[in-house]
C-alpha cells in the first residue's frame, strides 16, 4: 500500500517533469508547420517555413558550423581532458591543486567574462575572428568540464589496480586502456556529453569570439529573434530531429554491446 502510493507520486512527478521539458519543444515543432507568421495562433498546416529555411544559405551554413565545431571540440576536449585528469591524479598534490584552480576558472567565471577575455586575447594576438577562434574558444571551455567529470571517477579508483597491471607486465599504455579507462568510462562519457552540449548550445562565448560571417545556430537565432521569423522554428525542428537520432544511436549502442557481452560471459 505504502509502496504503491510512493510509486504513484513518483510517476506524477516524472509526468510533470516530462510536460515541463517538452511543452516548449512540441510548441516549436507545431508552429514550424504554421501557415501564418503568428507564434500564438495555429492557422493551418504548411511547409513554407521549411522551404524558406532550406533556401536560406546563412541558415544552412550556421547549422554546418555548429555541428562541425561541436564534434571537433568534443573529440579534442574529451581526449585532452581525460589524459590530463589521469596525469593530474598521479601528479604531486601541489601541481594538481594549482592546475585544478586554474582549470576551474572558466567554470567559475561567467561565460561572458571568458568571452570578453578571449575577444581581447585574440585581438591582442592579431588573430582574425572566425572559424579558428571559434574552435579554439570551444575547446578551451569544454576541457574543464571533461576534467571535472572524470576526476571524481579517478578519485574513487583503487590506485593499486594500475600498479598491479604494471607489475604483471602491462605497458603503461595497456594499463591506461585496459585498467584505468574502463573504470572511469562513465565519467568520460558524461564529460563528452557535457562538452558536446556546451559547445552545441553555446551562445555567449561564440558571440564574442566569432566574426567574418562565421555564425552558429545560437548567434543566428539571437540576431533573427528580434523580429518574428518562423523559419527559426523550422530550423529548430530540424535540429531536434538530428539530435534525437544522434542521441538514440549513442544510447542504444552501449545497450546492444552490453547484451552481447552478457551472452559471452
Amino acid at each position: 500500500m505504502k509502496k504503491e502510493k510512493k510509486s504513484l507520486l513518483s510517476k506524477i512527478l516524472l509526468g510533470l517533469t516530462a510536460t515541463f521539458f517538452y511543452v516548449p519543444i512540441l510548441y516549436i515543432i507545431l508552429f514550424s508547420f504554421n501557415s501564418s507568421r503568428s507564434l500564438t495562433k495555429f492557422e493551418g498546416f504548411s511547409l513554407r517555413w521549411y522551404e524558406k529555411m532550406f533556401a536560406d544559405s546563412t541558415m544552412m551554413a550556421a547549422v554546418a558550423y555548429t555541428v562541425i565545431i561541436a564534434v571537433l571540440a568534443t573529440i579534442i576536449s574529451t581526449i585532452v581532458g581525460t589524459l590530463t585528469a589521469i596525469g593530474l591524479s598521479k601528479s604531486r598534490k601541489l601541481i594538481r591543486g594549482m592546475v585544478e584552480q586554474v582549470n576551474n576558472l572558466p567554470i567559475l567565471n561567467p561565460e561572458i567574462v571568458t568571452g570578453i577575455g578571449l575577444l581581447m586575447f585574440f585581438s591582442a594576438l592579431g588573430v582574425k575572428k572566425g572559424f579558428l577562434t571559434l574552435l579554439l574558444a570551444h575547446v578551451m571551455f569544454c576541457i574543464p568540464y571533461v576534467i571535472l567529470s572524470v576526476t571524481p571517477k579517478l578519485r574513487s579508483l583503487d590506485p593499486n589496480l594500475a600498479d598491479a597491471a604494471l607489475d604483471l607486465g602491462a605497458t603503461p599504455m595497456q594499463a591506461l586502456w585496459k585498467v584505468i579507462v574502463p573504470q572511469i568510462r562513465p565519467g568520460i562519457i558524461s564529460g563528452a556529453l557535457i562538452a558536446f552540449t556546451m559547445s552545441f548550445d553555446d551562445f555567449v562565448i561564440s558571440y564574442f569570439v566569432t566574426g567574418n560571417g562565421v555564425n552558429n545556430i545560437s548567434i543566428l537565432v539571437y540576431t533573427m529573434s528580434k523580429r518574428v521569423n518562423p523559419s527559426i522554428n523550422a530550423l529548430s525542428t530540424l535540429v531536434i530531429l538530428l539530435i534525437t537520432v544522434a542521441l538514440l544511436i549513442v544510447n542504444i549502442i552501449p545497450i546492444i554491446k552490453e547484451k552481447k557481452g552478457r551472452k559471452l560471459t
Partner: protein, 280 residues
Amino acid sequence: MKQFRNMAVPYIVWMAAMIVVPMLLIILYAFTNKGNDVATIRFSLENFARFFSDTVFMSVLKRSLYIAIVTTIICILMGYPIAYVIANRSEKSKIFWILLITLPTWINMLVRTYAWMGILQDEGVINGFLGLFGIGPITMIHTTFAVVLGMVYNFIPFMILQIYTALTKMDKSYLEAASDLGANRVQSFLRITLPLSIPGVISGITLVFLPAVSSFFIPKLLGGGQYVLIGNVIETEFLTSGDWNFGSAISLAMAVIIMISMYITKKVDNDPTAKGRGSN
C-alpha cells in the same frame, strides 16, 4: 605511477595561454583608462569608482544576484526529487529518463528560450488555457517570473544530471547495512543518501548559479529590452559603446563577487561531506 604524470603537461601550457592570459588582459584593461598605450600605461581605479558609485548599476547588480539565487534554489528544490526518483528506477527506465532530460539540453538554449516567448504571450497557450476557466489573461512575458522561468528551464537539467550522477555512484550496500541495523527509510535517506549526494548538489549549484547570474539573452528575450541584468551592461560596453576598460572593470567585479560566493558554497560543502567521504 610517474609514467602518467607527463600527460598533464600539454594542457598546463595551453591553460596558461588560453585561460590565464585573457584573465590578465581583463585585469589590465580594468585598471587602466581608454586610450592608454603600452608605453605610457597608467593604472587607476576610475572604472571601479564609476561602477560602484552609480545607483543604476548597483540596482542592476542586485537584481542579477537576486534572480540567480532564486533560480538556483528552485533548481535544487525541483531537481533533487526528480534526480532521486530517476536514480531509484530500474536500469532501463533510468536510461530512458536521463535521455529524456538530456535531450532538451542538446537543443539550442536560444531556441528553447525563444519558444517560451510564444507560450508566455498574453494571447499564448497558457493564457488560452486559463481563459477556459475564465481566468486572465495574466501578463507573464516581460516580467521577473518569465526571466526566472526561462533560467530554470534552461539550467535545471545540469542540476538533475549532477545529483543523479552522485546518487547512482553511491554504494547501495550502505543502505542495506543501514536497514539491517534498524534504520528506517527517512533515517537512511538523511544520514546516508543525502550526505553522499551533496557533492552532486554543489556541482549542480556551480552549473546553475553561474550562467544565471551573467545571462544576457534570457533577460533580453523574456524580460524585454527594458529588463537589464549585469550581463546586458557588459554586452553593451563591449559591442555597442566600445568601452573595453569600463566593461572589463564590471566583468572583473562580477567575477570576483561570484568567486566569493562559490568559495563560500565550497566551504559549506566541506563540513558535512567530510564525514561522508571519510567513511568510503
